[in-house]
């Protein structure tokens, strides 16, 4: 049976191994057959409520079994699921809902207070599934409970959807200006999920964690690559993600075999998750993405989990994952590990500042062509015109590459090294500085736990460099100590004008360091 929609894996799973567990959450489970039936019902319910092919349907829920039912149900109805961060402020949620014209919302009773607030804003939501009672001030909206939706017949829908249809839209965490909706089709979603299921040898016996929220594209591995393999996806409750000791216990109890998360979660597990007292014998792969994994922490973790293979996945949300690097052994030294080789079905190209391909081994911006590339940004024709690089093929058609905005350099083994954001290279006093290089230099100090470096514009067209660090517990390092450390490693113009020592960093909703907020705070502190 052909697989060209993300939902096919569930349908095929229900045929091949209907009783096998597809999804688990807090000790409860859904078999492939149950998942297939429930998602069919939800899809029919949505269509009855007016969802048409291409419609955007919001998912505003905390993690639960329903998370999986929601995303597949929406896609089966021909819609694209739009995950709304369950912890985002109402204003931001309202923006996303209005931006892509969401008319139907899947939610839960526990989100009632926030949904009520959202519905006071000028959103055009006309149907809400998941509340027990109607919202007083909105009697015009149609309401269904989950139970009522499940009453809908659960036969498969014969719908002429194709791989080109929209599957989901992920809004960026908005650390720069307004969030943008990244449109992915079944084709681009499957391109990643199929590559991943193959590359990591996923099998039916595997048990994948789902740590990432639905609005973060790491979750597409957990659900879609898992379903392709007929494996079990274990959804982790948000509360547990804050308690490394609870999280490690779940990994052991649920016999998780494949883990995928941002490095931050892994570092927390390593430092506070008492890994030594957990039976992690089922774990065979640890995948990480989203941010650079500081080499010293990665080394420590790999030494703690000798039987496990580690893999670094790289790619902006616009391309999901486009390169990968299996870490061969605990890395020595401080050099950041490579982002590796391009995935199958991807063409990689490195361009200089004038959009000309660079010579092999030279630094330039990575641009990516292939199955995994997004369709474009929702409702942003200007952005869509500039974010792609087009290469003419004969006179007849163009190859379209997505500009990652990341600077890379290929090493002698063909592995790419990530050098930083194109906009992470700044000019200070006439000199060009790689801000990420300064971060690495700070991290090389034993007493430094985390470091973030950012430009401080000086209102004269140039920049100063600012840094914020979190020290290891018990460290008594001062700013002067750190400056001395850097003076021994960097040219003087690259040493930050100011280093703030903080207890914690602001983070985005996907756990990454929010450098922009640090920068804003620094500007304020310095009275700029």
């Amino acid at each position: 049976m052909a697989r060209f929609l993300l939902t096919h894996a569930v349908t095929q799973g229900a045929e091949k191994h209907p009783q096998h567990e597809a999804i688990r959450f807090a000790g409860q489970a859904l078999s492939y057959a149950e998942l297939e039936q429930r998602t069919n019902s939800i899809a029919r319910a949505l269509i009855e409520q007016g969802v048409r092919r291409g419609d955007r349907v919001g998912v505003y829920m905390n993690k639960s079994l329903e998370s999986a039912i929601a995303i597949y149900g929406i896609m089966k109805a021909g819609g694209a699921y739009v995950p709304l961060d369950p912890f985002a402020p109402v204003q931001r949620l309202s923006f996303v809902i209005q931006d892509c014209g969401i008319r139907h919302l899947l939610t839960q009773e526990m989100k009632l207070a926030q949904v009520e607030e959202i519905m006071r804003t000028p959103v055009k939501v006309e149907c809400i599934i998941g509340l027990e009672t109607a919202i007083d001030h909105r009697p015009d909206v149609r309401y269904l409970t989950w139970e009522e939706a499940y009453q809908t017949p659960n036969q498969a829908i014969s719908y002429s959807l194709t791989e080109q249809d929209l599957a989901y839209i992920l809004y960026t965490s908005g650390s720069t200006g307004n969030p943008k909706g990244i449109m992915h089709t079944h084709r681009s979603g499957l391109s990643f999920a199929e590559w991943a299921a193959d590359e990591y040898g996923l099998r039916q016996e595997d048990r994948l964690s789902n740590h990432a929220p639905l609005h973060f594209d790491l979750s597409t591995f957990d659900f879609f690559a898992g379903a392709i393999a007929g494996a079990t996806t274990v959804i982790i409750p948000e509360a547990l993600t804050k308690f490394p000791a609870s999280l490690s216990r779940l990994i052991a109890d649920e016999r998780i075999s494949v883990w995928y998360s941002v490095p931050f979660a892994l570092i927390q597990l390593m430092e506070h998750g008492v890994l030594e007292s957990r039976d992690l014998s089922a774990l065979r792969w640890v995948l990480f993405a989203g941010e650079v994994f500081p080499t010293k922490h990665l080394r420590e973790l790999m030494l703690k989990l000798p039987g496990v293979r580690f893999s670094n996945l790289y790619g902006p949300t616009e391309t999901n994952v486009c390169t990968y690097y299996h870490v061969p052994e605990p890395p020595v030294g401080d050099e950041t590990i490579p982002i590796g080789l391009p995935c199958a079905n991807v063409e990689d190209l490195v361009l200089d500042a004038d959009d000309r391909p660079v010579g092999r081994g030279e630094v330039g911006e990575l641009v990516i062509r292939g199955g995994v590339v997004m369709k474009g940004y929702w409702g942003q024709p200007d952005r869509n015109a500039t974010c792609f690089y087009r290469r003419r093929v004969f006179n007849d058609f163009e190859d379209i590459f997505y500009r990652t905005g990341d600077l890379v350099q290929q090493d002698e083994n063909g592995n790419y090294r990530y050098l930083g954001r194109k906009d992470r290279q700044i000019k200070t006093r006439g000199y060009r500085v790689e801000l990420d290089e300064v971060e690495v230099a700070l991290l090389s100090h034993q007493g430094v736990e985390e470091a973030a470096v950012y430009p401080i514009p000086d209102n004269q067209g140039s920049n100063l460099i600012g840094a914020s660090v979190i020290l290891k517990p018990g460290s008594l390092l001062t700013e002067a100590d750190l400056v001395e450390h850097l003076n021994n490693r960097l040219p003087s113009y690259a040493v930050p004008a100011k280093i703030f020592i903080l207890d914690d960093f602001p983070r985005t909703s996907t756990g990454k360091i929010n450098r922009r907020e640090l920068q804003a705070w620094a500007l304020q502190s310095l009275g700029n």
Partner: protein, 79 residues
């Protein structure tokens, strides 16, 4: 000051940064987003300092931190 009151005050002042926040002893500290990973570490540090009770990593689990009551019960068990 008893422990529950001290904990409540600390959480309101240092973590929620709002001394007038509404926080009952049975309120769920987790789903409201009151506690994040860093706040939990802060709280553990405070407990060790203020009550002289060492909280091992394996006890920093969500059952013990779900509410001020839960936390207090855990600490009573550790005297």
């Amino acid at each position: 000051m008893d422990r529950k009151t001290a904990l409540t005050q600390y959480i309101k002042q240092e973590i929620m940064r709002n001394p007038n926040a509404k926080l009952q002893e049975n309120d769920d500290l987790l789903s409201a987003g009151v506690l994040d990973s860093l706040a939990i570490l802060q709280l553990v540090a405070y407990i060790e300092e203020a009550f002289g009770i060492k909280v091992p990593d394996e006890d920093v689990v969500f059952e013990n931190f779900q509410s001020i009551n839960a936390l207090s019960q855990y600490l009573d068990g550790h005297n």
